[in-house]
Symmetry: C2
Subunit: 174 residues, 2 copies
């Protein structure tokens, strides 16, 4: 039985080491220090402007119950924190708890691909993101998107039985 | 409807700001730099030695399906990462995804208190942890334990309906 991490690597095509190259700054500036708060605000605004205007209703409707401004803030605060900046997200909302917080959404392979399509475009059209950082970020996003697909899928398949799961039960892979 | 964060603060008696004082190093060394890898290994070993030898069978059995060595490694790698050290946990297992990864366990108020009882003892009997760091850590642990109680409880109460939750549904608090 594959772990969430292994599924994420297989489905996304991004190896774990590559996904977490965001943390590998060779002793220099981390991605937050390199890009700064405003760049992450711009990236998340650019991204959600695209998402909330998506021509595909099935995709747009996944986000329809949240306010765009909140979605933007949640995302840039998470990214700032994850990329080595101040712990803005946790101070306001607690632990990221990525899978649990996405449990209400239909995180399918198709949704992950459409999310990544918009993020690639947002990255390409946000100024001040150098090419090396762009590659690190998209690898992180690809791997994370499929980590969520794997996590939410696994939750939906194994709701209550998890509590008394035996050694070979899929829940043991969490 | 309370958020997970608000429930955690109320149930644990630890305000959010206090819980995340672990990140507040006043520009100096963070908790990982202050305490070092070996201290976190010692703390987690000390903690799980107590847990796996607990006289309370109901509590001990929560952990019975995992190997002690794995539990120790998962915990110290998470702590090292969370306290500002290398991203050991994510590189091996992906995002912490705390609530999802605890979904298979019976995270009740009683279990949280017993967990915290052992952690307090482990902190007190692990050398090289100064008093200020000890207080920061136990506040973080108390808040996090109840954040998990709130998260797992909320998941169990709202399994599939979350997917189509309306604005007032508890799921919207994730």
């Amino acid at each position: 039985m594959q772990s969430l991490q292994e599924k994420a690597a297989e489905w996304s095509g991004v190896e774990t080491t590559l996904a977490f190259a965001i943390d590998d700054n060779g002793g220099g500036a981390n991605l937050f220090q390199k890009l700064g708060l405003q760049t992450f605000i711009n990236l998340s605004t650019n991204f959600y402007d695209r998402v909330y205007n998506d021509e595909e209703e099935w995709f747009r409707s996944i986000f329809g119950k949240s306010k765009k401004e909140e979605a933007i803030q949640n995302q840039y605060e998470f990214l700032v924190q994850r990329m080595g900046g101040p712990i803005l997200y946790s101070q306001r909302r607690g632990h990221p708890a990525l899978i649990a917080r996405h449990g209400a959404f239909d995180v399918t392979h198709e949704a992950a691909e459409r999310w990544l399509h918009h993020m690639q475009q947002a990255l390409d059209s946000t100024s001040d993101i150098d090419d090396e950082s762009k590659i690190k970020l998209i690898n992180f996003f690809r791997h994370t998107a499929y980590f969520l697909v794997a996590g939410v899928e696994s939750r939906n398949q194994n709701q209550m039985p998890c509590k008394n799961a035996s050694g070979s039960h899929p829940c043991k892979n969490f």
